[in-house]
Point group: C2
Chain length 478, copies 2
């Protein structure tokens, strides 16, 4: 490969954000396109991010009592059809298996687009008494949705996710679990991924097929578009009635269970890229970065340089940081741009002169600021800087979210934002689906959520002028 | 549920081993059957074992430089057909997807039965120069094989596994990796699962479809039947030639890459059950057991008993053990049999009298031995016993393997073992596939492996009398 800077190989964000995104996922070696149309290959640099997400989310789930299980990947057609709204939502976008080996199947099966029906079928046989409740199960798996337009991480025919499915004795407990898991997602996004989110409830039009209520966290990307980043659904007794999932309560009466489901997927990697990335490539928050520091030796063939680089690496690894030395035969400049493209939060440059002076250079990926540090103070400086980078990344994303959230008090203001700016619009809404559909048709704008934190901006719907019911976040979404 | 002992609900091993196995997987709550024919639901107790297997294997893989990735789950038919032997081996047992959403696909795709073809297709585009080698990739996923007869863990239409796929510059390096991964599997089985294995090479008849050589580890179940527990394949340049995977070497010449693949699956949970289980249920080796100790309070309603149980639990958890207290309202006897059925390596019984005397009872699951220990010495005793249980379980399995391995010097001895005993037969073999096929036809016995540790038992093939080539392990297999 020629030694030109990697950064020259990518489009700038301001020029073409979509092309910038595609360039970054490829050049940062997160994915590759495959010959299976609409499916991607997740390469080591991308999969390592997913492994860190899994580890951290799974730990948080288990702290709330979640147990992991594994359900079959196939759903017989008759099972998919048991809940009417659910099948209407998913049947048009599933992949159908019609043959097993050389023989046609008696009943065709789809590859799971989501597993509510499989969990219901299982719970029906597994739940008998109130002593069997609650069931708080989750699975990590891949799902398939036959999308026409696909984009890496954001929308692909197969993607990885976790899906939690719970069953409870009471509606109260189900509502509590739905909210609890939404909070787990929100805290994870803010604390670990440094992505601020808006928590709220979906409108009836936007809720999950078969749900009584869908809660969501919505994040704002660098280009002002929204990304639904995690959802948590309360099914009430809808699925239980369709599938006949009943338990005997402590007065020996038969009752339907109350159910929830909640999921987060590899889509969130798209959010990390589009919230934090810049024209030099990916920028990973330290807490999720598979490698946190690259030590880059300068004039590495000079005696003692590589040894010193490894000494620093081992010292920092001993402090619990994830560190690598780049000792390949590429030029330092190329190594710098590679480390930047891959979003590694910090690099340490160390050459013969530095060693002589007992110093080295730290370069922050997020600000690209260079800091000279004496080798004696290196560990302390890295320990101070790493959480600072994490915090600064969150603060910048939070400022961007606030700067790109607009209030609209009437139709003119509403239209103006989506014509001339980009971001979230907070506006009062009448609560009618017809109005929501009109907004979508007119401007390709959808309701993102009815935020839990409500405020009253006016008495009338900003779009249609009818009596206002709720304040809603609106946006163009991925 | 009635308070009768769980053990009464299962068939004894000696009466009907197959039924005992089925009873244990159900009563220990490892799996449930699903309405998707031939597929199982892996319940929390079963999945937690798989999570421990994953964690430990993944750590060992990464120590050898393995990186995790994720490939699509679908294989277009034309891709599956690229390597002739491979497609012949797998096409008869794959599930075919023919429709995406409402439309028929232009080309049907199968759900991966294994992913050699997908990795090859990816490597073809990703490998250019010797600098790109080696590639040492692995994925954790589920695969589908359309089996007619299925049994939980042992043979099901969908199962979970890991599959490693590597590409190397030289044949030497590929052979080395094939052997290295077989050793990782063997060490894992022996050190973590307490299952002794025979390492060797498969005959041409038994090797993987498309492989130049297949290495295997073979374990002996309690009933004397063999279980192939992990395999590692060397493909030489076979797949590379079929897919055109070439690199430029350091003299600028085009060369084919040398490839390997290796896998271990949820099948290994079947081995854990059938090697260590007994008439009271599952027996889990401490290193893989999700819960290692159950503290069972006696007369738990008496003041101080539950507090003491939790105090012991916290003390032992602080020492790094995985401990639970069973404070349900079941009787102690029922709790004992539940802990035994689930194979939890140790239980601690503590009641008002014990507390008065400053003592408790430890009961080992493997030997069912009861040991009175003073509370002061409990931690030290558990720290001594836990590795002892692990070691004793291995030693017993090893002794069973040795007692059930027979030498056959001629056809009479060969036939006698499989007619009147059960286990492995070590015997010299002529090396001809026709002879191997005859043995299978006559006695439903297959070659398990040509062990790396060879010895010469005679000059002639024990079965057909022709000149002997190698010593082979024979057995009836799952």
């Amino acid at each position: 490969m020629a030694e030109k800077k990697l950064v020259e190989a990518i489009t700038s964000m301001s020029e073409d954000f979509a092309q910038w995104y595609t360039d970054v996922v490829k050049k940062a070696e997160l994915i590759d396109y495959s010959n299976v149309k609409g499916c991607m290959v997740i390469k080591p640099a991308g999969y390592a991010i997913w492994e860190n997400i899994q580890r951290e989310l799974d730990r948080r789930f288990k702290e709330t009592g979640v147990e992991n299980v594994y359900m079959p990947m196939f759903i017989p057609e008759s099972l998919l059809q048991k809940e009417k709204d659910h099948v209407e939502g998913f049947a048009p976008e599933v992949a159908w298996v019609t043959h097993g080996g050389l023989n046609p199947l008696q009943e065709r099966m789809c590859v799971r687009p989501t597993s509510e029906t499989l969990f219901c079928d299982f719970y029906k046989g597994d739940i008998h008494s109130y002593r069997d409740l609650p069931k708080v199960y989750n699975q990590w798996c891949s799902v398939v949705r036959w999308e026409k337009e696909t984009r890496p991480f954001l929308r692909s025919r197969e993607f990885l996710w976790q899906e939690g499915h719970t069953a409870h004795a009471t509606e109260e407990e189900a509502v509590e679990r739905t909210e609890q898991m939404l909070n787990v997602y929100a805290d994870f996004c803010e604390e670990v991924l440094a992505i601020p989110v808006i928590k709220g409830r979906k409108t009836d039009k936007e809720k999950f097929a078969g749900a009584a209520a869908t809660y969501t966290i919505e994040a704002l990307m660098h280009d002002g578009k929204a990304l639904q980043s995690g959802t948590s659904h309360n099914f009430s007794t809808g699925f239980a009635e369709a599938f006949g999932i009943q338990y005997t309560d402590n007065e020996n009466k038969l009752q339907y269970v109350h159910q929830t489901s909640w999921g987060m997927s590899t889509r969130i990697i798209g959010a990390i890229i589009m919230v934090h990335g810049d024209d030099s490539g990916l920028v990973l928050p330290p807490m999720i970065a598979p490698t946190q520091i690259t030590v880059i030796p300068i004039q590495q063939k000079k005696e003692g340089v590589l040894d010193k680089a490894y000494e620093l690496k081992n010292m920092l690894a001993g402090k619990g940081f994830r560190v690598k030395v780049d000792d390949t035969d590429k030029s330092p400049g190329y190594k710098f741009s590679e480390q930047e493209m891959r979003g590694i939060p910090m690099r340490i440059e160390i050459g013969p002169k530095d060693i002589e002076n007992g110093k080295c250079i730290i370069c922050r990926r997020d600000t690209r600021e260079k800091i000279e540090v004496s080798l004696d103070e290196l560990a302390a400086k890295v320990e101070e800087l790493m959480p600072q980078i994490q915090k600064d990344m969150f603060d910048r994303a939070k400022a961007h979210l606030e700067e790109h959230t607009y209030e609209a008090h009437n139709k003119e203001e509403f239209v103006d934002v989506f014509a001339n700016k980009s971001g979230f619009v907070k506006a009062m809404w009448c609560g009618e689906t017809a109005c929501e559909e009109q907004i979508k048709e007119d401007m390709a704008v959808t309701s993102r959520c009815i935020p839990f934190e409500q405020s009253c901006l006016s008495d009338t719907c900003a779009y249609c002028g009818k009596k206002a019911q709720k304040m809603v976040y609106w946006g163009r979404a991925y």
